[in-house]
C-alpha cells in the first residue's frame, strides 16, 4: 500500500516525539522536519534518521510543498495563526497540536469520521484528549447534564505555552466536553503538581446524568478505555467507575509510551498519539478516495 507523505513543523519536544511515532506508521511516510534552529535537537535527530531537516521555517517548506500532504503544527498557538493560512493556501491538511483551536476540534475515537475532509484539525488539549472520550462513553448511554474534568499533570511536563495560556486550557477543554463529549454543560480544571519523581498524568471525570444504568455505563466506559488504548497504550482506568446517585465518577491515568518524552508525561504522549491517529485516518481516507 502506498503511504501518504507528512511533515512536522516544529522541532521541539512534541515534534520530536511525533517523529518517533511516525516511524512506526504503516500508512504515513515522514519526509521532513521543519524548524528554525539548525542546531535544535529535533533537527539533529531528524538528520540522524535520514529525514529532510528544513531549518528555514514555514517558508523553507513552502518552497518545496511536494514534500508532504499532511503537516503537523507543533509550534505555538501564536505561530499557528500564520501557519494555518499559509498551509491552507498551499492545499495542505493541517493537524494543529497547539492550543490555537482555529480548526475543528477532534477527539479521534469520538468524532473523527465527521472531519475527514476539513483542512485544519485541532486536538483541543491533553486534558480534553484524555477525558472527552469518557464523557462521550457516558453520554451515549444517558444524557449528561453536566460534566466536569480535573486534569493533574506534573509541573515538568507543562511547557511554557501551557503555563502562559492556562485559561485557554480550561476554556477549550470545557468547549470540547460540550461539543464533542455531549455534555449540556462542561467544566475543566487543571492542576500542576511539582512532586519529584514526577507524577503520571491523572484525570478525574465527573458526570451528572439523567438516568443511571450501571451495567450499560460500565460496559461503555470499559469499551472506550480499550478504544483509546489502541493508540495510547498507557491509558487506563484507575478504578471501576463509581456510581453515586446520578453522579458517575471515573478516574484515569495516562502513562506515556516513552518514545522521546519521558513516561510520566502521558499528557504529552496522548496528544502526539492522537495527532498520529488523526493523520492515519486522513491517509486511509485519502488512499480510499484515490482507489475509488
Amino acid at each position: 500500500m502506498s503511504k501518504v507523505k507528512v511533515a512536522i513543523l516544529g522541532s521541539g519536544n512534541i515534534g520530536t516525539d511525533l517523529m518517533m511515532k511516525l516511524r512506526r506508521s504503516s500508512v504515513l511516510e515522514l519526509t521532513a522536519v521543519i524548524g528554525i534552529d539548525p542546531e535544535s535537537e529535533g533537527l539533529q535527530v531528524a538528520r540522524e534518521f535520514g529525514y529532510e531537516a528544513i531549518d528555514s521555517g514555514i517558508d523553507g517548506f513552502l518552497k518545496r510543498p511536494e514534500m508532504a500532504d499532511i503537516v503537523f503544527d507543533a509550534t505555538s498557538a501564536r505561530a499557528h495563526f500564520g501557519h494555518a493560512q499559509l498551509l491552507k493556501e498551499a492545499g495542505k491538511k493541517v493537524i494543529d497540536m497547539t492550543p490555537a483551536a482555529i480548526g475543528d476540534l477532534v477527539v479521534p475515537p469520538v468524532n473523527m469520521e465527521k472531519h475527514l475532509d476539513v483542512p485544519n484539525i485541532n486536538l483541543i488539549t491533553c486534558g480534553g484528549q484524555a477525558t472527552i472520550p469518557m464523557v462521550h462513553a457516558v453520554s451515549r448511554i444517558s444524557p449528561v447534564k453536566y460534566a466536569e474534568i480535573v486534569a493533574t499533570i506534573s509541573s515538568v511536563s507543562a511547557g511554557p505555552g501551557t503555563r502562559a495560556n492556562i485559561d485557554e486550557f480550561t476554556q477549550t477543554t470545557a468547549r470540547g466536553i460540550e461539543q464533542i463529549g455531549g455534555a449540556k454543560k462542561g467544566k475543566a480544571i487543571i492542576i500542576l503538581n511539582p512532586a519529584e519523581p514526577p507524577i503520571l498524568m491523572r484525570n478525574a471525570v465527573y458526570c451528572l446524568v439523567e438516568s443511571v444504568d450501571e451495567r450499560k455505563m460500565t460496559e461503555s466506559i470499559l469499551k472506550m478505555e480499550k478504544t483509546v488504548q489502541s493508540y495510547v497504550p498507557g491509558y487506563r482506568l484507575k478504578t471501576e467507575p463509581i456510581f453515586d446517585g446520578n453522579k458517575v465518577t471515573i478516574f484515569l491515568e495516562v502513562e506515556g509510551a516513552g518514545d522521546y518524552l519521558p513516561k510520566y508525561s502521558g499528557n504529552l504522549d496522548i496528544m502526539t498519539a492522537a495527532g498520529v491517529k488523526v493523520a492515519e485516518e486522513f491517509a486511509r481516507h485519502q488512499i480510499k478516495k484515490k482507489v475509488i
Binding site: 509541573s155 502562559a164 492556562i166 480544571i189 492542576i191 484507575k238 478504578t239 463509581i242 478516574f251
Partner: protein, 341 residues
C-alpha cells in the same frame, strides 16, 4: 480612626470560611457580615468560593449562591472596605475576574502553588488592566525552600503584582520558618509583603506576629477562625494583640468582638477548634480545605481520616487535588481488607 494603618488586615471568613460550611453562604449572610466588618473599619473583605472564582464544582463542592451575587452584595453594603476576590489559575479565568471587577471587586489575589508562579502572568496583567489592587498569593509556602520562594515571588512582582503573600495553606509553618521567608522577601523584593496563616498547629497568631516583626504589612485573619482546617488567625484577637503592641490596624476592637459573637458565630454553627484531623493537616503539611473531604471519605470507607491525610501528605499533594482523597481512601480501605484476611 484617621491615623494611618500600620498593618492592613484582610478578613477572609467570607472566602476561606466557605470551606468550613461547604460553600453554603447566602446573600443574607454576606450582607450581615460585610456590613458589620465595614462598620468596624476592616479595610479588605474577601468574598469568593473557598477555592476562588469559579471554584463551584463537583471537585470542591457547589456554591449554594452564585459567588458573583455574593461579591456584589458585599460591595453594596461597604462604605470604606474594599471587596477582594481570590483566583486560582487553572480553576478560574480572566473572564470571571472581569465579571468580579464589574460586580465591585477592587482587589484580587492570584494564587498559585509556591513553585508554579508563572501560570499567574495573564491574570495579574488583566487585574492591573482592570485597575485592581493585585496580590500574588504563593500557596503551600512550607513546601519550598527560601530561594525557590524568592524566585517565584520575583516572577509575580515582574508581572506587576503590588503585594506578595507567603501563604501557609496547610498551617504547617513554624514561626522561625515564617521569619526566614518574610525576611528573604523583604530583602529581595520592592513590593509589600503579606502573610496568610492557618491555625492547625495553634501557630496562626505567633506566625502572623513573626511576619509583622519581619516587615509584613498585610496579614489575613478570619473572625472566629472561620476558615478551612482549624481556621485562620482569629481576626478580632489579632486586632486586640496588635493594639497592645502599639500597631495600628485602624479596626475597632469592640465592634469586631460584637460581630464575631453576634453575627458570625451563628453562621459558623459550631465553634472552630483544633480537632485531631486539623492537627494532622498542619503536622503533615496538607492543604487545609481537604479536611471535610477526608472526613467524608473516611466515613464512606470506614477508615481513620488521619490515615488518609497522612498519606496525602506523603504523596506531596498540592492544593486543588481533592479528587485524590477518595482514591487514596479506597486504596487504604482495600489494603486494610487484605490485611484483615
Amino acid at each position: 480612626m484617621s491615623a494611618k494603618r500600620d498593618v492592613y488586615i484582610t478578613e477572609v471568613a467570607l472566602r476561606d470560611g466557605s470551606h468550613a460550611i461547604r460553600h453554603q453562604f447566602t446573600v443574607d449572610h454576606v450582607v450581615q457580615v460585610a456590613r458589620a466588618l465595614d462598620e468596624a473599619n476592616v479595610p479588605y473583605i474577601e468574598v469568593s468560593h473557598g477555592d476562588g472564582l469559579a471554584g463551584s464544582s463537583l471537585q470542591y463542592g457547589f456554591s449554594l449562591t452564585d459567588e458573583m451575587e455574593l461579591i456584589e452584595a458585599a460591595g453594596s453594603v461597604c462604605r470604606q472596605a474594599k471587596v477582594s476576590v481570590l483566583l486560582l489559575p487553572g480553576i478560574g479565568t480572566v473572564n470571571e475576574l472581569k465579571e468580579a471587577a464589574k460586580r465591585g471587586a477592587k482587589m484580587v489575589r492570584v494564587a498559585t502553588h509556591v513553585t508554579e508562579a508563572d501560570v499567574s502572568a495573564q491574570h495579574i496583567y488583566m487585574a492591573k488592566e482592570l485597575g485592581m489592587e493585585t496580590v500574588g498569593f504563593l500557596m503551600m509556602a512550607h513546601m519550598a525552600p527560601v530561594e525557590k520562594l524568592v524566585e517565584q515571588a520575583k516572577l509575580m512582582e515582574s508581572y506587576g503584582a503590588d503585594i506578595i503573600y507567603v501563604t501557609d495553606s496547610a498551617g504547617a509553618m513554624l514561626p522561625h520558618q515564617v521569619r526566614g521567608k518574610i525576611r528573604a522577601l523583604k530583602e529581595n523584593l520592592d513590593v509589600e509583603i503579606g502573610f496568610h496563616g492557618h491555625n492547625n498547629l495553634s501557630l496562626a497568631m505567633a506566625n502572623t506576629l513573626a511576619a509583622i516583626e519581619e516587615g509584613a504589612t498585610r496579614v489575613d485573619g478570619s473572625v472566629r477562625c472561620f476558615g478551612a482546617g482549624a481556621g485562620n488567625t482569629q481576626t478580632e484577637v489579632l486586632v486586640a494583640v496588635l493594639d497592645r503592641l502599639g500597631i495600628n490596624t485602624g479596626i475597632d476592637m469592640y465592634n469586631m468582638m460584637d460581630l464575631a459573637e453576634e453575627t458570625v458565630a451563628p453562621i459558623l454553627g459550631h465553634p472552630q477548634e483544633i480537632t485531631r484531623d486539623a492537627m494532622i493537616l498542619g503536622y503533615t503539611g496538607v492543604y487545609s480545605s481537604f479536611l471535610l473531604h477526608a472526613k467524608q471519605a473516611a466515613e464512606k470507607f470506614q477508615i481513620d481520616s488521619r490515615d488518609i491525610l497522612l498519606e496525602l501528605g506523603k504523596r506531596k499533594l498540592v492544593g486543588g487535588q481533592e479528587d485524590m482523597i477518595v482514591d487514596v481512601a479506597a486504596e487504604i480501605a482495600k489494603a486494610g481488607t487484605k490485611a484483615a484476611r
